[in-house]
């Protein structure tokens, strides 16, 4: 986690806490104090619900920001945050049904359809989360590949020297021998090639001019002075 990501996450936690916990609780207290006749489905414990669900939003959003774009974690926390925001909105507005009772009047507003449409609008943010994931996924994959390569390289550099060959026989350590398939009475290994005969090995050279034998080291003929061609041993 880089430093900027930590500061992003901290800032998100702060702003989301203000947006989804502090300000709504203050507003709810203001409304319940000034309009005691207003009733919604969750009104009796609304502040508690806001605290709990708002807290979940803050945590999810913070974790979303703490992860890099393109990671599954970030997408998961982003989608969770969107779901929590929808739930939070539903609870805050009491399912879209509000009742005012100030005798002799009783008024009921059922705005649940509008609330569902608004929730749909909020849920559109999920598309953005998915889109962010898709557009940044390749960066993450490339980086993973690069890191893997770096890791392999580092591992290769710091790897210990190869051990001596083990005593167990291996094919590499066995001597090669040509195998000749012959008639049944002659099954066997081909005999190794015969060593070169001593006659074929010359430890002198002849002068191409006068024909006098000379040592292989000589560069000129001691007899006529002609130059020998190499190699010289």
């Amino acid at each position: 986690m880089t430093r900027s990501r930590i500061s992003d996450a901290t800032w998100t936690a702060f702003t989301e806490g203000i947006r989804f916990v502090v300000v709504p609780i203050l507003l709810v207290n203001l409304v319940t104090t000034n309009y005691p006749s207003l009733k919604t489905a969750f009104m009796p414990n609304l502040a508690t619900y806001i605290l709990i669900i708002g807290g979940m939003i803050v945590v999810a959003s913070t974790l979303e920001c703490a992860n890099r774009p393109g990671t599954y974690k970030r997408m998961l926390f982003g989608l969770s945050a969107v779901a929590f925001v929808c739930f939070w909105t539903f609870v805050l507005f009491g399912g879209g049904v509000a009742e005012f009772s100030y005798p002799p009047y009783y008024v009921r507003f059922d705005m649940s359809k509008i609330l569902y449409i608004v929730l749909l609008g909020i849920a559109l943010k999920a598309l953005l989360v998915v889109q962010t994931f898709k557009s940044n996924k390749h960066v993450v994959v490339e980086e993973q590949v690069r890191r893997k390569a770096e890791k392999v390289e580092t591992a290769a550099l710091s790897a210990p020297r190869p051990r001596p060959a083990s005593r167990a026989p291996s094919f590499a350590s066995l001597s090669k021998a040509a195998f000749r398939v012959t008639s049944d009475d002659e099954v066997g290994y081909e005999p190794p090639p015969a060593p070169p005969s001593k006659e074929a090995v010359q430890d002198y050279k002849e002068c191409p001019v006068c024909g006098v034998k000379a040592s292989l080291r000589e560069t000129t003929c001691k007899h006529c002075g002609a130059w020998f061609s190499g190699p010289f041993k």
Binding site: P104, Y105, V107, F109, M111, K113, V118, L127, L128, Q131
Partner: protein
């Protein structure tokens, strides 16, 4: 890819802005007063009485001063007395109120008080009561996305038609040939103002034989009191033994009020 994300972001912002605008314009007219339902107040209710029927009219109006039509406006009401006996009730057919218009109306209903009286349910003829108006208004707003329900209950005081009456009890036997004055008192509802007066008839008899009589008209509405003279026949001999009876009948419209006192001689007046 970044451009695609931007476009998506912009689209989401636009959708959300339009949704916020929709929600705001749906809620705004209610607190701001562009959509108002004026339900009838107790002071607005008018009453009239005719031929045993009580006619009640309670005006209302619905103002739709905002940008959306009101659909399926249904008004229903029920009127009960204090014992929860239903006097009237109705559900109006659904209405549509176009934007920027006001629809006035009235809850008009009639109940048969004389019928109640004849069916031994004449409590309201002689006693004050409270008529409970339970009115319910429901309608759809913002392209049927918002449902509005309002209920209103109010009690309207009902004054008894005949609140009280009294005929002075005779304290002595009449003198033959002389008018015998008897005081009366009648208190009726102001609702009966201007209607034909009540008639008071008093008779004096002995064992069923008429010995004298007197009549008087009494105006209806409010407190009325006066004296009616019972003309006693000159040949009456009040020393004869028998049952002497004063009987009266006050006929207030279709409602007769009767009573009598009987004295038996000898023995004197009770």
């Amino acid at each position: 890819m970044a451009a695609r994300t931007r476009v998506l972001q912009l689209a989401i912002v636009l959708v959300n802005l339009s949704l916020i605008a929709l929600a705001f314009t749906s809620i705004w007219p209610f607190p701001h007063g562009d959509f108002k339902v004026h339900l009838p107040q107790a002071k607005d209710v008018t009453w009239s009485y005719e031929n045993g029927l009580v006619h009640v009219s309670a005006p209302y109006s619905i103002d739709n001063g905002w940008i959306y039509d009101v659909d399926d406006l249904i008004i229903s009401y029920s009127v009960t007395n204090n014992t929860r006996y239903e006097l009237a009730g109705q559900t109006f057919p659904p209405l549509k109120i176009p934007k920027d218009s006001i629809v006035p109306g009235a809850l008009d209903f009639t109940f048969d008080l004389l019928g109640f009286y004849r069916n031994d349910k004449g409590w309201m003829v002689f006693n004050d009561d409270i008529l409970n108006f339970d009115i319910h208004v429901s309608c759809y707003y913002t392209m049927r996305l918002v449902k509005f329900d309002a209920s209103y209950s109010t009690g309207v005081t009902w004054d008894a038609l005949i609140r009280s009456w009294a005929i002075e009890r005779p304290s002595s036997l009449p003198t033959p040939g002389a008018p015998y004055p008897i005081n009366y008192w009648l208190n009726t509802s102001d609702l009966l103002n201007g209607l034909p007066p009540a008639s008071l008839n008093i008779s004096f008899s002995r064992d069923g034989t008429l010995l004298g009589w007197g009549t008087s008209d009494i105006q209806l509405g409010g407190d009325r009191q006066g004296t009616v003279n019972v003309n006693i026949l000159p040949v009456v001999d009040t020393t004869i033994q028998g049952n002497y009876t004063f009987a009266y009948e006050i006929k207030v419209l279709e409602y007769p009020l009767t009573g009598s006192w009987t004295y038996t001689l000898p023995g004197g007046l009770p």
